[in-house]
């Protein structure tokens, strides 16, 4: 509390390289994805937490049941991508605000890695999803599986 506010380096002139302007597109993306996410996330929350028995209904069978339908698959893939990139870009903004120099680079790298890995992992999970894995406990499978004991 008692330290002097840290001195600021003066503004460094604009780097004149004409790359794609990520700042502008990032800003727009936050808004566009935000609007879509409202629908996606609230739909998701509504179905999973509000309808039926809420969180208590969620289990493998429930998830598998949902993902059997391409509708929910697309829904969740979209949500995954939009949300992770949205969140990742948001984190980038925040890191840029508070961290400088090397720590900034490291943290940005971590966020980027986390987002990239999770997008890959999540997409694989969703796209190549098998609702009726062979050899699984039949009581856990959704009812439409041939092996289901429900």
């Amino acid at each position: 509390m008692t330290t002097i506010d840290a001195p600021r380096t003066p503004h460094t002139p604009v780097t004149k390289n004409r790359r794609v302007n990520w700042e502008k597109w990032g800003w727009l993306y936050m808004r566009a994805s935000g609007i879509l996410l409202v629908v996606l996330i609230f739909g998701h929350l509504f179905v999973n937490l509000f309808l039926g028995t809420g969180v208590k209904q969620v289990d493998f069978a429930f998830v598998a049941g949902k993902w059997a339908s391409p509708f929910w698959q697309v829904w969740d893939v979209l949500m995954l991508w939009l949300a992770l990139i949205h969140g990742g870009n948001g984190m980038r903004t925040i890191i840029n605000d508070y961290a400088h120099g090397r720590p900034r680079q490291v943290m940005l790298g971590l966020v980027f890695a986390a987002v990239a890995i999770l997008i890959v992992l999540g997409t694989l999970t969703l796209v190549a999803f098998d609702p009726c894995p062979t050899g699984a406990d039949p009581s856990l499978l959704p009812s439409f599986c041939p092996a289901s004991s429900k």
Binding site: T2, T3, I4, D5, P7, R8, T9, P10, H11, T12, P13, V14, T15, N21, E23, K24, G26, W27, L28, N96, D97, Y98, H100
Partner: protein
């Protein structure tokens, strides 16, 4: 504190004898020649409700402690010298009346935030002016008219708000983004860019839009509105920033409006 004494002489303001109060100011002091760190110091002063915080600072400097250091000049809010943090908010000391403060509590006064502290209430303004200069704050026009350039009343009106800026830095030093990263151009620079971007006589708008499209430009603004609330000239700073953002998105200055979807442009 705040004991009330009726004093015969009025503060010079019409309306007869008015009450003087003892007001406590707690000022964040820092003398680079002796202090390692800033510290708070209390002062009690007799004030009239119609006095301003600047009067209180003067009273302290002139009657109690001559070493108290602050900038000031015009004393009525037009030169922009005395932006400081008063009770946690950026204000001009000369425009903050004692009666508008809660004087049952001490008044806290400290330097504006985010610029290097030099002494007591004085900060180094150079980084601030540096950003200002970076946005090319001057009319860029190639024609050489013999008389005045013609500009309609309506064209003049669209950038009126941002011509009022007195470069006091109250906005920039209230911006949370600027506090943490002084590389951000800051609202004052954007306000002054706005003043030219939307001037119908100017030909350099595109250049300025490009500059502000930068990593440290308008996109860093998080619409926290501290700037708009701090501006002693009542400039709608955040609105100006929004209009610049919208102009960058449109790819041309056009008329200042941030309406992209909700109302047709220029309506």
């Amino acid at each position: 504190m705040s004991e009330v004494a009726v004093v015969e002489e009025s503060a010079g303001v019409p309306g007869g004898p008015i009450q003087a109060f003892t007001v406590t100011l707690i000022i964040r002091r820092f003398d680079p020649e002796v202090d390692a760190e800033p510290h708070w110091q209390d002062f009690d002063v007799e004030m009239y409700p119609t006095d301003r915080v600047l009067d209180a600072l003067h009273k302290i400097k002139w009657e109690q402690d001559g070493s108290l250091t602050f900038r000031r000049s015009c004393a009525h809010g037009i030169c922009g010298s005395d932006a400081m943090r008063i009770n946690g908010r950026n204000r001009l000391a000369c425009k903050t009346l004692i009666k508008d403060l809660d004087i049952s509590q001490p008044i806290y006064v400290e330097a504006i935030k985010g610029l290097p502290l030099e002494k007591d209430l004085i900060v180094d303004m150079e980084p601030f002016f540096e950003s200002y200069r970076a946005i090319q704050p001057f009319l860029i026009a190639s024609d050489k008219p013999d008389k005045e350039r013609i500009q309609s009343v309506a064209q003049r009106a669209v950038f009126d708000d941002t011509t009022k800026c007195i470069l006091c830095a109250a906005c920039t030093s209230s911006c949370p983004v600027f506090w943490t990263d002084g590389q951000y151009f800051g609202p004052a620079a954007i306000v002054n860019a706005h003043r030219f971007i939307f001037d119908s006589r100017d030909e350099g708008s595109q250049v300025r839009l490009d500059i502000l499209n930068d990593k440290e430009g308008v996109w860093r603004c998080r619409t926290t509105f501290n700037c708009s609330e701090a501006c002693p000239r009542g400039i709608e700073v955040t609105k100006a920033i929004s209009e610049v953002k919208a102009a960058i998105l449109r790819g041309n200055p056009g008329l200042p409006s941030s309406d992209l979807v909700l109302t047709p442009v220029g309506a």
